[in-house]
């Protein structure tokens, strides 16, 4: 029975992938310390979250059947501490939260909820960029307008607020828990030491940060204004002609992650001045509200207030030279990828030819040829057909190969 369960519920774009990568890679070491991170594949907790919230995700949900109950059973079987982590859990409804917490509790289990949060002014462009990487074509102007619409009924607004509205997420996940078991980890401002966020996570997860070096953990670098504009325009062209699995491999992985993100040359995404004002005002309200709640804050609530505004560059109307440069780099990356795949195709073709040759050699024996003649005759001759049937009965196999 797990004595303590730590449920890290998000939010997206707050270093969650980095934490999950680290925990997944260090499962054995964690087990030695009495901490379970129950996962047989890196996205096990993502699949469990899809199952819990009955979310479709481009067909991946087919791999998620029963995933939450399996994860909950593994958690309950942990002898001491168990950690569950996925950022889309942030958007769970109260009913889904109730089901999740009940399934993790084996009677007397101490459940802790952790939410990592970053200031809204950095989260808004990061979420739009993430949307673009997931095939969306919504312009930045429309995206911002949807977020500011109080009804939340346009575009991805319901999803955005579901995973980013810090006080509401903590209320949904934490309203039935003692406040000291609800932990808010704030993401340090830009320019802070690289390991500061990990130190904060470590504290709440009960780990010694020195024991888990950050060298091998992948980072998720962002696209610049021109690069994201190119991907959005590309989406408009390929959405109806390239299926999801190819998009994931070619656009998201080869183009975005391996090329454009790794070589950002244009300005960082930001928000226009009026949106900065609106987001700053909202952030101040959140911080005031959170200060009243008495949660365990790991870091500083002021981290959730936006820093000085970055220069505003509109990704819906990028500088033509920068856009062209990013487009040429994209074309280059995709040409290189096409060449790599072409090499692979040639290699596979060679493998096939070798196999055909081997097969031909196996089929050129006199016995095989005699069998072939018999099968052919069986199509026109009743006697040959009967003979073939007798042969197959004697052989004792229902193969029609010869």
């Amino acid at each position: 029975m797990a004595r303590r369960v730590i449920v890290h519920v998000g939010a997206p774009k707050t270093g969650t992938s980095f934490v999950q990568d680290l925990l997944f890679g260090a499962r054995d070491r964690l087990t030695e310390q009495g901490i379970c991170y129950p996962a047989d594949r890196f996205d096990a907790h993502f699949l469990a979250a899809l199952d819990l919230m009955q979310l479709s995700w481009g067909g991946l949900e087919r791999e998620a059947v029963g995933a939450w109950d399996r994860l909950a059973a593994q958690v309950r079987a942990c002898p001491d501490t168990a950690i569950v982590s996925h950022e889309i859990l942030a958007t769970a409804s109260r009913a889904q939260v109730a089901r999740a917490l009940a399934s993790l509790d084996d009677g007397g289990t101490e459940i802790h909820v952790v939410l990592s949060a970053r200031d809204l002014v950095r989260q808004i462009p990061a979420e739009w960029q993430e949307n673009v990487k997931h095939r969306r074509t919504t312009s930045y102007a429309d995206f911002l307008a949807h977020l500011q619409d109080p009804s939340r009924q346009q575009g991805v607004a319901a999803w955005f607020w579901g995973v980013q509205e810090v006080p509401d997420i903590l209320d949904r996940w934490g309203s039935t828990l003692p406040r000291e078991r609800v932990h808010l980890v704030t993401v340090p401002p830009a320019g802070a030491p690289r390991d500061l966020l990990w130190q904060r996570f470590s504290r709440v997860l009960g780990l010694d940060p020195a024991e888990f070096p950050l060298d091998d953990v992948r980072t998720n670098p962002s696209l610049g204004v021109a690069e994201v504009a190119v991907v959005r325009r590309l989406n408009e062209q390929v959405n109806e002609v390239v299926p999801n699995h190819h998009y994931r491999a070619i656009v998201r992985e080869a183009l975005v992650h391996q090329s454009l993100s790794a070589d950002r040359r244009s300005a960082r995404l930001s928000v226009p001045p009026d949106v900065w004002e609106w987001a700053a005002q909202l952030s101040r309200q959140w911080v005031t509200e959170l200060a009243l709640r008495g949660y365990d804050v790991v870091g500083d609530l002021d981290d959730l207030l936006p820093a000085e505004a970055l220069p505003w560059v509109d990704p819906d109307a990028p500088a033509i030279e920068e856009f062209a440069d990013a487009a040429v780099r994209a074309l280059t990356a995709l040409t290189v990828e096409a060449a790599r795949l072409r090499d692979r195709e040639v290699e596979l073709q060679r493998d096939i030819e070798e196999l055909i040759e081997k097969l031909d050699r196996a089929h050129s024996t006199p016995i095989y040829k005699a069998k072939e003649r018999l099968v052919a005759r069986a199509g026109t001759s009743t006697v040959a057909a009967r003979g073939l049937a007798v042969y197959r009965r004697l052989r004792g196999r229902n193969s029609r190969s010869t």
Partner: protein, 391 residues
């Protein structure tokens, strides 16, 4: 008592009122200042959301729905089922005195004013729970005698028409398949072919929207392979004797059956067309959630055996090409008609029928309000089956 406790009590009281069969809206309920302390639904759990409450209210108003204790059990199921997938999170109800400025969480919406999509999410969640129980029901056995000496047929092309014609031919004692089978490629107006193909793809598990299917087809300038009549017919003629391949182009299932019957030498009887855009649009929402609940194989079984009975009774008429796609449909239809006319196979009926015509008033996409209205009947039937199974 705090304002939030008072709110919770009033919401539970309205839920209890609805559970008893009331169709009163939240606004009317508040106006009448119903006594919050009477009839409040028990429960310390999360409050039901606006979508679940509105779904119960709409189900209560149906003349063909359950009543009394039976309805209360259905209401409990709805109120206890989270809306699956993406959408507004825990929509609260409007409450006098609640501050609007700086409000945290999803803004309140009067349940009767919720978008149909939100109530459909709640309906989908409930329907999936009822359908999941169907997975254990054994499929009906085909009681038709096996007659291998009878003439064989194989139907391709328009999927719904093929289903209807197949049923009629099997009832007349013919057999499907066999080595000497006669191939029929069934066609009709392109918009109807697309609607039938959409229905078939969704039954096979796709979560595809009607508009998206057209967008993909038009962008690629290619009709889906299952209804590419000239390609299918040409392939069959190449693979087998052209004399065994017949393309049948007719405006409806009855005319198709008559033409197929002529070729096979059997008398055709009446057969009704089937249009199911609302069921299809509902099923595309149900599919991913049902797959998550019971797995893909069980989902296929449920959709094959239980869904047709649960989702029947739709009287919605045909679907037309979405706005802006008719031009492509006409050009494509004309191309198909020419190709069919020049093939090495027999064509029965007029190939020009494939070309869509302008049909004012025909719906261009399933309207979410209509899908929701249909979903209420589907939920009622699924609930009845569940009650019969349990009794």
């Amino acid at each position: 008592m705090s304002r939030s406790d008072e709110y919770a009590d009033r919401v539970r009281a309205w839920a209890a009122h609805l559970r008893a069969g009331s169709t009163q809206t939240w606004t009317e309920f508040l106006d009448e200042a119903a006594d919050a302390s009477t009839g409040a639904a028990a429960g310390d759990g999360p409050l039901p959301g606006a979508a679940q409450l509105e779904l119960v209210r709409r189900l209560a108003g149906r003349p063909d729905g359950p009543t009394g204790a039976d309805f209360a059990r259905l209401a409990d199921l709805v109120l206890g089922t989270a809306g699956p997938g993406r959408g507004l999170v825990d929509v609260p109800l409007p409450w006098p005195g609640r501050p609007d400025d700086g409000h945290i969480g999803t803004p309140p919406v009067a349940p009767e004013e919720l978008p149909a999509e939100e109530v459909l999410r709640a309906a989908t969640g409930t329907l999936v729970r009822l359908l999941a129980a169907e997975a254990d029901t054994p499929p009906p056995r085909d009681t038709r005698p096996w007659r291998p000496w009878r003439r064989g047929f194989t139907l391709l092309g328009a999927p719904t028409t093929a289903d209807l014609v197949r049923g009629a031919l099997l009832d007349r004692g013919l057999r499907e398949g066999g080595t000497r089978t006669t191939y029929f490629v069934l066609g009709g107006p392109l918009e109807e072919l697309m609607a039938q193909r959409w229905s078939a793809r969704v039954r096979a598990g796709a979560g595809l929207r009607w508009q998206r299917m057209w967008r993909i087809a038009a962008t690629n300038d290619r009709v889906p392979p299952g209804i590419a009549l000239p390609t299918i017919a040409a392939h069959l003629a190449e693979e087998f004797t052209p004399a065994r391949v017949h393309v049948v182009v007719a405006p409806d299932a009855a005319s198709t059956l008559a033409l197929v019957g002529e070729v096979l030498g059997v008398a055709a009887g009446p057969v009704d067309d089937r249009h199911d855009p609302l069921s299809t649009d509902l099923l595309r929402r149900v599919n991913p959630v049902l797959t998550l609940a019971i797995g893909e194989e069980a989902r296929r079984r449920v959709v094959r055996h239980a869904w047709p009975q649960i989702a029947s009774g739709e009287d919605s008429g045909p679907l037309g090409a979405p706005a802006g796609r008719l031009g492509w449909a006409v050009r494509t239809g004309e191309r198909m008609a020419v190709q069919l006319g020049g093939g090495r196979y027999a064509v029965h009926g007029d190939p020009a029928l494939v070309v869509p015509t302008r049909r004012p008033g025909v719906r261009r996409a399933p309207d979410p309000d209509d899908v929701l209205a249909h979903a209420l009947g589907v939920l009622g039937r699924a609930w009845r089956r569940s009650a019969e199974r349990d009794s």
